[in-house]
């Protein structure tokens, strides 16, 4: 009886708490991935945080990615949570400039992230301050059909010349070297970014997306010369402009095309298309300019504190927790991505292992063309890339137009 009364009282107390609304110890978190894997990983991480900080009452609100992109523009002003997920690079730019995010330099200094996450620090920095803590990222590179490579006795190409030679073998045997679906544009940006990173290096990529280099610059033109060579000597599947990246998996799965410049999330799609892990493999995008420090594309996801947050103290505690090596190890093992903290361990999946080896040794980490460049520039740029792939002869026109837009967007 006593026990029952107790639970009853507890229930009444809990109800009373609910009625009184948000308490000082509430920590509201908006997260933006409803896919079962990441959602579960996030929820488990929150449970871990709760176990360590029983006095904090965590309230979680998980939204769909696209809906989150729209919602964040309102809730940062109107009804800010204490933590929200968002993207680093230029994507956080508008919010930082409008004063909607809180600088978290002290969290980085206190938790020792300055060393543990040194590689990603420039991406998290704007106006000399650090604005968030990343929890996960993934590698890009070339995914290929290992069974086709074995059949044609092709080794993983390390240089541009080797890639061209391998493409010739594939073309001679009726295999289209590359598949791609450019309907939604960003896939073409991945190819551009890699050729540009390998032709000109990390600084040129950053200066281009920061509007400091013109598109008609000779170095950028050289990138397009190399891209043209890739189209002529390797070649992409026909009709790529009417395919999404998932549609483009079909020729890859059927064995009509052998390579795909993609992010690691594509592995899931390839397996869904009926391929086994033995049939697919990964290699780093080959070297073009010899001796250039190797930079990689690795878009990161991060947590930020809105400046309108009510409970910043606990929010900072949460950010320090999210960046910790053991937390990142656990969470990324579940998502199937790479931890950002260099002290964290990676799972033994072969793509994760190779990705970690690729990204952790990179001289620089790019976020992706559409995250490093401002939105209006990114849209115009990606349309330009698609147009170039469909009609290479219009290159001069494309680059001049991109210069015009660059002049409008950056001030």
């Amino acid at each position: 009886m006593i026990h029952n009364t107790k639970t009853l009282l507890a229930g009444v107390a809990a109800a009373a708490f609910m009625v009184t609304g948000a308490l000082a110890d509430d920590l509201r978190i908006n997260f933006d991935d409803l896919n079962p894997g990441p959602k579960k990983a996030f929820e488990d991480m929150v449970e871990m945080f709760k176990a360590e900080n029983p006095e904090i009452n965590v309230i979680v609100n998980i939204n769909d990615r696209e809906a989150h992109k729209t919602a964040i523009r309102n809730f940062l002003t109107a009804d800010a949570p204490d933590i929200t997920s968002w993207y680093p690079g230029n994507r956080m730019g508008p919010f930082v400039d409008a004063g909607l995010f809180e600088a978290v330099d002290d969290v980085w200094a206190d938790a020792g992230f300055d060393e543990e996450m040194a590689a990603i620090k420039p991406t998290m920095t704007r106006d000399g301050k650090i604005w968030g803590v990343p929890y996960s990222y993934y590698q890009w590179g070339i995914y290929y059909r290992k069974d086709i490579f074995d059949l044609l006795k092709i080794a993983e190409p390390k240089t541009w010349a080797e890639l061209m030679a391998s493409c010739k073998v594939m073309n001679d045997n009726g295999v289209k070297p590359f598949t791609i679906g450019t309907k939604y544009l960003w896939t073409a940006a991945g190819v551009f970014d890699y050729i540009n990173l390998r032709t000109n290096g990390y600084d040129v990529h950053n200066n281009l997306t920061a509007g400091k280099i013109k598109y008609t610059d000779d170095r950028i033109k050289q990138t397009f010369v190399n891209w043209k060579q890739m189209m002529d000597e390797c070649g992409f599947v026909d009709n790529h402009a009417s395919m999404s990246w998932q549609d483009a998996l079909a020729p890859f799965a059927n064995g009509d095309a052998a390579m795909y410049v993609m992010g690691n999330f594509a592995v899931g799609g390839m397996k869904d298309a009926g391929l086994t892990e033995e049939q697919i493999d990964y290699f780093q995008f080959p070297e073009i300019t010899a001796g250039l420090p190797r930079a990689e594309e690795a878009p990161a996801d991060a947590f930020f504190i809105p400046s309108n947050a009510k409970n910043k103290e606990d929010a900072k505690k949460f950010l320090a927790f999210v960046g910790r090596a053991d937390v990142q190890t656990k969470m990324n093992a579940q998502i199937g991505q790479l931890p950002v903290n260099s002290k964290a361990e990676v799972s033994d999946n072969k793509f994760i292992q190779e990705g970690f080896a690729t990204v952790s040794t990179a001289a620089g980490i790019a976020q992706f063309y559409d995250r490093d460049a401002p939105a209006a520039m990114a849209k115009a740029g990606m349309e330009g890339f698609q147009r170039f792939m469909l009609d290479p002869s219009s290159l001069d026109e494309i680059l001049t137009e991109l210069d015009r837009i660059q002049g409008e967007v950056y001030k």
Binding site: T77, A98, L100, I148, G174, N239, G255, A376, K379, Q386
Partner: protein, 327 residues
Amino acid sequence: MPATEFQASQISWMSRNKLVVMPWAFLIPALIFFAIYVVIPIFQSITLSFYEWNGLYDGDGNSTAIWVGFENYKRLWSDPKFWVSLKNNVLWLSLFMLAVPLGLFIALFLNQTVPGMRFYKSMFFFPFVISQVVVGLTFGWFYNPDFGVVGGLWKLAFCEETVNILGNVTFKCSRTPPDILSSSQYATYGIIAAGLWPQVAYCMILYLTGLNNVAVEQIEAGRLDGAKGWKMLWYLVLPQLRPATFIALVVTVIGALRSFDMIAVMTQGGPYGSTNVLSYYMFETAISEYGERYGYGSSIATVLFIIMLFFISYFLWRMYKDEKSVS
């Protein structure tokens, strides 16, 4: 008693002014909503077109917009994508007009008494009932060079089935199949063709109701005087269908100018912006993921509004004139 006196005077005021008051009483709810959702936003959007704004408010809720005067309109002038969109709008407007004669001929054809005619009529009307999004998707698949009807027919004509290096079935084509929606030349025509399908149905139903009201005596009289075929149509039937033609023109012009959903579903304005129209370009620059330029988007909206205003004023003027001549 003063109270009843007052009441009496009230009632008499109401009964005296009933004809003036009642229309307003019925109009006011609609007017309020019209003001909130149409009139005020028009002025807001015109104001916004003089600002540069990424849609964000700062932490205290103040807008971050910056006054730039006519800068957005100057940019529009030198923006090739704006001109492509405007050109496509003209293309939509002119080709969409085909819906009116096509609708008329289908209506004439269906205006017969044959068993099961109701069924055929509803089948022709069907595309107008289903959502534009569904029409867009269906046509998108229809045009698809890999698995669509176009691709399938092409494979029959120009491709042969072989096996690839892994022994899987694949096709080798002597010519690559046409990729209508990814070609900057043909994509807009492809979408307009899809858009015409429901629009023709709409015009058809307008004409079918019009044909019900055609005076039989006049037709009979015309027949006695020896009119038939084209002459009958031109001099006897069409004049009586004038109201239907007018409405068909109005809905077709408006339908062409606000074409948006088909483009959003079929190409998202692509390839590289070549199928944009003003309404979609406005959406893209202002509220899509890569937009966030609300001022610039508003200036596009203002231009589109002026074009629409031109047509709408013409139609209203016509209707006003017609009503005056009737009374």
